[in-house]
Amino acid sequence: MHLTDEQLNEYLDNETNEREQIELHLHSCNECNARFSDLQNLFLELDSLPDLQLTRDLSTRFATKGQLTLQLPHWLTLTVFAQAALALIALIISIPFITTYIPQIDVASLTSPLFEIQSLWNTWLDSLSTLQLPTIPELPIPVLEMSSLLLALAGIFVIWIFGNGLLLRNQIR
């Protein structure tokens, strides 16, 4: 009974538990030993195949990049969607507050400082037209109500969240 091709291959690949039996048989069977030698030669020839050289150096392409940008891990990119979802939820939650506070905002109180700013701007323009050094007037600091401040902060928060999302998306590409 001769060794099978499978046994010889597995022996040379170190993937068999029958090493001793196979070795014993190879010592006593010329035919199997000849097949074994042929296969061993093939292994040697494949394993000694020389490396070919590249026609161009690929490393220069990376060296000229200066600073490389790593792709963010997948889990981190998912936080962009989580942030966007949170921002949306925050917006939805803030709607009742917005509808409550907007009517309370005294629009007349805002028009007065705006009018003052506009008149100051006109003063500046007049000063420039006469080519004289203008005297910089002091700007009035409008007193903001809590509701206006909250609205402004909510707006900034939403813009910041979506801005972050856009930045991360561009980095992934």
Binding site: D5, E6, N9, E10, D13, E15, D38, L39, N41, L42, F43, E45, L46, D47, L49, P50, D51, L52, Q53, L54, T55, R56, D57, L58, S59, T60, R61, F62, A63, T64, K65, G66, Q67, L68, T69, L70, Q71, L72, P73
Partner: protein, 178 residues
């Protein structure tokens, strides 16, 4: 001063240091190119995929375990890319007329080595793509049968049959009497 290890270079590359990654490419590009060439047997495709391999590898550096050897990892990335390339293109592979590097001092030996290497490459190129891939992973990346089965997501029995059949075909081509 000692040259930096792959580990040092990868740590620097992870922080965005392009020169460190460029040095990694210099060290491993020949090995990766030869993986691609043995599978694809086309110099242009092999060079393009070598470049693609290093681009992909850079983007996956965060997933690379710094305690492992870099060379086997990058070669597996290359082999996978070649497999995807073969599957997507269903290419009829065109064999390049390649010349192997001269390493032997004796001119007649050089000619012999070149001719024999050429014959081996021709024989490898004549194998079906899935056979070539298994030969690559077993002989050049020294993976076990189980590792190959996991890598290619095929049954262990298919790994063995592809590998043994490939060797039989290679032997028929290389040792057939003239």
């Amino acid at each position: 001063m000692n040259a930096p290890t792959d580990r040092d270079l990868i740590l620097r590359a992870k922080r965005g240091d392009a020169e460190a990654y460029s040095e990694i490419v210099t060290r491993h590009q020949t090995g990766v190119f030869n993986v691609c060439y043995r599978i694809l047997h086309n110099r242009n495709d092999a060079e393009d995929l070598t470049q693609e391999t290093f681009m992909r590898a850079y983007n996956r550096l965060n997933t690379f375990d710094i305690e492992r050897e870099f060379a086997p990892w990058i070669k597996r990335v290359a082999a996978n890319l070649c497999l995807n390339h073969i599957e997507s293109q269903k290419v009829t592979l065109e064999l390049d007329d390649e010349r192997d590097e001269d390493k032997s001092a004796n001119p007649s030996q050089q000619v012999e080595v070149k001719e024999r290497s050429e014959q081996i490459r021709q024989a490898l190129s004549s194998l079906p793509a899935n056979y070539r891939l298994v030969v690559e992973l077993r002989h050049y990346q020294e993976m076990s049968y189980d590792e190959i089965a996991n890598e290619l997501k095929i049954p262990l029995s298919d790994v063995k049959s592809h590998l043994f059949r490939a060797r039989k075909l290679l032997a028929e081509k290389l040792y057939a009497p003239d």
